[in-house]
């Protein structure tokens, strides 16, 4: 028996466009992913220098969270009880390849700790937790394709067990130049029902 929960807002980053609740907030065609995400960072007044130390996956995730949380007026100066449940297909493979490359040549063997630390998909959740003081639950799932059902079930289970006040759910995927981010915030009060249909509807928006 589940109470009703609601989707409070959602953010998408795909095809070189960032949208919030279906409306475009930034777009810049004809750029490769890294160039695009840095341009978006500057344009959206993100003001978080640690951004530049992050790998591609974390840059993507933190920018999407920035857009969504700014809209939600999340205060970075205090604890926020928001669990984070992310998922993707490729884990951290983009950064894994970089680390692998650094150990391929025995004559030029200088693996980088700053790259290695990002060879885990949940680090992007860690980055968001640091920025927004989320001393909360987090889990990173891997699926072959975006799975609204799993995110729905898992977010519901956290809320109904009283583990958290809100859940930030998402699909944050990066593999070479293929990238996609879709985050949405699930809350106890609202107007748009937290349902599989709505999750998918907004994913496709």
């Amino acid at each position: 028996m589940n109470s009703n929960y609601y989707i409070s807002s959602f953010c998408s980053i795909k095809n070189n466009t960032i949208s919030l609740n279906g409306s475009m907030v930034y777009s810049n065609e004809n750029m490769e992913f890294l160039e695009f995400i840095k341009a978006a960072y500057k344009s959206l007044d993100t003001n978080y220098p640690k951004f530049f130390k992050m790998d591609g996956l974390s840059k993507l995730a933190i920018l999407a969270a920035h857009v969504l949380f700014k809209n939600e007026n999340i205060n970075q100066d205090k604890d926020n009880d928001i669990a984070v449940v992310f998922s993707n297909k490729s884990s951290s493979i983009d950064t894994d390849r970089k680390h692998q490359k650094s150990i391929e040549n025995k004559d030029d063997y200088y693996p980088s700790p700053a790259i290695f630390v990002y060879t885990l998909p949940n680090i992007c959740i860690g980055e968001i937790s640091i920025k927004y003081k989320l001393f909360s639950e987090n889990s990173f799932f891997i699926f072959e394709n975006f799975s609204a059902q799993h995110l729905l079930d898992y977010a519901n289970s956290l809320l109904s067990a009283g583990k958290t006040e809100k859940v930030l759910c998402g699909w944050v995927e990066l593999d070479g130049n293929q990238y996609e981010a879709y985050l949405y915030l699930v809350t106890k009060i609202g107007t748009i029902l937290h349902s599989k249909e709505n999750i998918i509807k907004f994913y496709n928006t």
Binding site: K133, I142, E144, K163
Partner: protein, 385 residues
Amino acid sequence: MTEVYLSYNNIVSSLGFDSETVVSNIHNEISGLQLIDDKEMFFKSFCSSIINQKELNNSFTSIAVEGNFTRLEMMMITSLNSVIQDTKIPLTKNVGLIISTTKGNIDILDKNSKFLEERAYLGSLGKVIKDFFKFKNDAIVVSNACVSGVLAVTIAKRYITQGIYDNVFVVSGDIVTEFILSGFNSFQALSSEPCKPYSKNRTGINIGEVAASVLVTKNDTNLAKEAVAILGDGSCNDANHISGPSRTGEGLVRSVKLAQKEANISFDNIDYISAHGTGTPFNDEMEAIAINRLGLQNVPINSLKGYFGHTLGASGLLETIVGMHSLYNNTLYSSLGFEEIGVSQPINVITKTITKKLNIFLKTASGFGGSNMAVIFKKINMTSK
């Protein structure tokens, strides 16, 4: 609230291919760690627990006609097969499959690998395991750094409590690779000797490899003799740094408090703590601080990293299973590798195998990304040894 149990279990490791054998070796303080000098694997010698390939092949051929499986898949299939055989549960749509790993088949990224890169994707690992056993549901793959193993157990509990599954098989695994060794070496975190959790002269971690499996179920009939109930769990991020633990142990403290609140027990009821204890200066110090903040400094505590090294995505589940056997056997196992105490706050490290009546234990884990987990388990079989 539905009661959820951990039941039949298996460990595939350098200390044996079944839980009883592994626990027996731990009882006798036998370590699976060895000094490995293999320039193909890593440029300098390192201390690790590596599963014997011949033994793994032998074990695997009794389960499957040798197909095209990676080393990790062989480990995980061998382990999970044992549990599925023991439980005799038909794999219907009410049965889930959760896989936990940090890097999966990462050795496939090496240019000498005979497998195609697409096999390195964790979804492929999930599919291979699912198809091998013919599960009706897709595998749920969890990759959340070194808390993955014990997080997978709580995820299974959540799915069962939600009524999505009645039973969930959880299998965890990670392998020793140059990818991992080189990474931790760049962090100056690798010890060239067997690790010394909580000790004054600790110099870092050893990497080990293991596959571990367990059945998580709501059925209290036909439980394994060492079954435990999950009383409560808590998971709180440090919100501090992506690799270093919080100096005040904030996330771990909050996690344990949440677990205790859900378990509805007093801290006095905790008989034993199976901690993370990797052997790095910072992790072990953070844990000691957290344990003291919680008032748990007198509770017998160990780290099992001295037997297997740090088995990453499998460590949480491996160590939970040993904890189950610890409770059933009413035995506290030595925190192997421990020498003179080297943390700033007192903790009650178990220094040799001793018998003691045990009912409830706390498992903790921490990982990169600021993750922390705490789970409280209670023995079911009160007529245990």
